[in-house]
Amino acid sequence: MKSLKQIWLTFAGTRVGQSIFRVGLPESNLGRMQAMVSSFLLHLHPAKVHRHSLQFSYTLGLGLISLYLFLILCITGVALMFFYVPSPEHAYDNMKDLEFVVSAGMIARNMHRWSAHLMVLCVFLHMCRVFYTGGYKPPREFNWIVGVGLFVMTLVLSFTGYLLPWDQLAFWAITVGTNIAGYAPVVGKKIQFLLLGGNIVGESSLLRFYVLHVIVLPAAVVFMIAIHFWRVRKDGGLSRPGEPDVLVQQSETGPLSTSKTYGLMELARGTSPAVGLKPEDEVPVWPHLLFREILLFLATMAVVMFLSVFWNAPLEEFANPTHPPNPAKAPWYFLGLQELVAYSAFWGGVAVPALLLVALVALPYLDHQRVGIGVWFARERRVAVTIFTICVVAAVVLTAIGTYFRGPNWDWVWPWAASAVTPH
């Protein structure tokens, strides 16, 4: 260890090293904070962070885990793209080749698959966490909306990826999923046609889903993540109890004279997010936050690798438009909706998802009293907490029913009952 550090220090001391690292390996808290400010990658963080933000029991690390999963998805996704042709003729064979001949192909596909499922789960849980700790209240209303957008994007990303293996699972899940979209009044059928590039899932659907999945949506997500993170810092870091009431005050500045030039400090309005922090409440990000972030990354990797080494991503028969499985099921995160569709296409396919989305977006503007921020299940917020919990429980129960309790013809089955095997 000593000699490694020595080598690094020697390199950092050279002209080249100095030009890259600027401050060298810091030896004091001051140096570490300088490093945070002067390095591009580290500059995503503030130099110091409130102790409260480091509490795992407060954040559960869900936002960061979601980011890590997204990064794993990008890296494995690009690797998979090298071996994938988005056409019905090749896609399925490509999956087989990944499994049987491509070095680390199966593990890359497994990592991609499990990370995708986990990301849907973690983004959802992250949203729940932010709700239960009142993190969407002023001044963080807009960031909540960006977050809702990211949640929807995550679902759509996962959904578009679902089709790409071009097996029975993919084909019929997308058929069912896009049918749900088709239930919307007036525009439903048009949207379905636009998504599929036809009336049924086919060659053009695969190409469309592919382009959305590998370029359009990831680019949009990267952009939105950037806004999301930027806003976290501009809104005063993570929510916590005892925040000053208004972090950014709109101070009155008179009309600016054109006869003089202004420095930045003269133009900036209001107080910075750092106002109200007491020095003893803060710790340097390096090492306290960075170390925890690395730890969380290791934990995320461990879970993803564990799943990927021991469970293969599913691949069913080659897609067959004339042979629907019974029942044909949408991806699991849409099974709650599919369960509702079984009762009423309008409610399940249109009204409920639309209302949920509107409610989520309107939430921070309806519930804007700055009470109970930074505390799990604050007593003052029990009405909001109860309503949200009912919705979450309903979603989980419906999804579980759709996933485990629905058999052929969408009839009720017990998951432990052996399904009748029909030979073909």
């Binding site: 070095s103 306290h288 730890l295 690798m305 080494v309």
Partner: protein, 454 residues
């Protein structure tokens, strides 16, 4: 601030976990089953090597995936990754997967691969997956007792040497009158489903069981059970398994690959040569009689004449048929085998036969026997039919006037009288054949029906 120190054990634990899992992933990926067999093969090769050069070669054998890429068959077969010695006859009798594959001269592996005959999953490189015995793979390896079924994928006619079971299955298919109700190759009835792709959809077990008791597997099926020996049912199953509907390119269609008198004979019938030419005094008179034509003309002349008749005999009115070269060779060899006496026996309906004999051929051609019995004895069960719950025999045809018989055959009997008026519709009814059968066939068929005695 000390709080970091208490996280160090977590760091160590998670670090080790990720490291361990990466190693496990690497192990799974690197140590594949097929590599063991390639090492085994290399060891055997080294063992067999006698000269230093051979030893050198055996040592230099690469460990690599082997594959046969067959775009025309839409296949990539990696079977030879483990089955390394299929072409090396010195490995005859060696335990699988290193055994030699006999009789592959006519079907070279580099052109045919493996799965076109054996089925299974050609792209897979793990034993169970490759043999197709895994979930979600629809074509497990074909049991050797059914292997002749694969011949039928390319060999459409009865011209496959060493495939007695396939020939038997084909004959049974005709005898049982299957096409009375089922379509195969666009010909046949509508009562049952088409059979063109049945071999790709159904497993051998399903087919065999279905022949014996159709209604058990397809509730409500009106198909009569095939009352034959197990061996016959197996032969029928085998014939069905060959009907996969796979569209193969020209190279793989047998007519192009094995020219011979059988193919020539079939072409001779199909193209209606007998309309203009005669053999043994039977046939048309527009063109010359073909008896002994191979003595009068050289093979070269005949071949050129088939390519373009007018080019070699300017006054010829014979049309240019655009035969392929292998069709021409087949026709030429058929002409060489002409003996005159039995030349017309191969025609679907023998021209010189009596009306009753011709009628019998019509009876078989349209699969009437499927319901009415191979000789019109009837007796196939038809649930809830007024006619004693079975399909009536045809032995009473003599009592009916021609017009009635004709309308029965051409229009059918779409509504069968019910035994119990409240019961379900009888599953089998008589379809109309009016759009298929020609007038001459109809007359012959009626003659045959009149000849049937109770």
């Amino acid at each position: 601030m000390d709080s970091l120190r208490k996280l160090y054990p977590w760091f160590a634990l998670l670090g080790l976990a990720v490291g361990g899992l990466v190693l496990a992933g690497y192990y799974k990926d690197e140590f594949r089953e097929w590599k063991r067999w390639q090492q085994e093969y290399a060891a055997q090769e080294l063992n067999r090597a006698t000269t230093p050069e051979q030893k050198e070669q055996a040592r230099a054998l690469p460990i690599e995936i082997k594959q046969i890429v067959l775009p025309e068959l839409q296949r990539v077969d990696r079977c030879t990754t483990c089955h390394l010695a299929v072409e090396d006859s010195s490995y005859a009798g060696v335990k699988q997967p290193l055994a030699y594959h006999p009789n592959h001269a006519r079907h070279p592996f580099e052109k045919f691969g493996c799965t076109i005959c054996h089925q299974g999953q050609g792209r897979a490189t793990e034993r169970e997956a490759a043999h197709g015995r895994v979930a979600h793979w629809e074509h497990p390896m074909l049991a050797m007792k059914y292997i002749e079924a694969s011949c039928a994928k390319c060999h459409a006619a009865t011209d496959v040497p060493r495939s007695p079971l396939l020939a038997r299955g084909r004959a049974l298919f005709e005898e049982q009158g299957c096409i009375g109700c089922h379509k195969l190759g666009g010909f046949g009835g509508n009562l049952g489903p088409e059979l063109d792709k049945v071999g790709a959809k159904r497993s051998p077990e399903w087919l065999a069981k279905h022949f014996k008791s159709p209604a058990e597997l397809v509730p409500g099926s009106g198909m009569p059970p095939v009352k034959r020996s197990d061996a016959d049912v197996a032969a029928l199953t085998l014939f069905m398994l060959g009907q996969t509907g796979e569209r193969l390119t020209e190279y793989y269609v047998s007519m192009k690959t094995i020219p011979g008198p059988d193919i020539g004979q079939r072409l001779f019938g199909q193209k209606g040569c007998i309309g203009c030419h005669s053999v043994g005094g039977k046939g048309g008179t527009v063109g010359p009689a073909l008896d002994g034509v191979t003595q009068r003309r050289t093979t070269d002349w005949i071949v050129k004449h088939f390519r373009d008749p007018a080019a070699i005999s300017p006054e010829s009115v014979m049309p240019k048929f655009n035969f392929t070269e292998s069709e021409i060779r087949s026709l030429a060899s058929f002409l060489g085998s002409l003996t005159g006496a039995d030349v017309l026996s191969f025609m679907k309906i023998p021209a010189q036969a009596s009306p009753v004999e011709r009628g019998r051929a019509v009876y078989l051609k349209y699969g009437c026997g499927g319901c009415h019995g191979t000789s019109g004895e009837g007796g196939v069960p038809n649930h809830n039919a007024k006619s004693n719950q079975q399909i009536p025999p045809l032995t009473a045809a003599n009592d009916l006037a021609d017009v009635f018989l004709e309308s029965f055959i051409t229009e059918g009997v779409p509504e069968i009288g019910k035994l119990d008026p409240n019961g379900p519709k009888p599953p089998i009814y008589m379809p109309g054949f009016g759009d298929k059968i020609s007038e001459g066939e109809l007359a012959d068929l009626i003659s045959y029906l009149r000849s049937l005695k109770p």
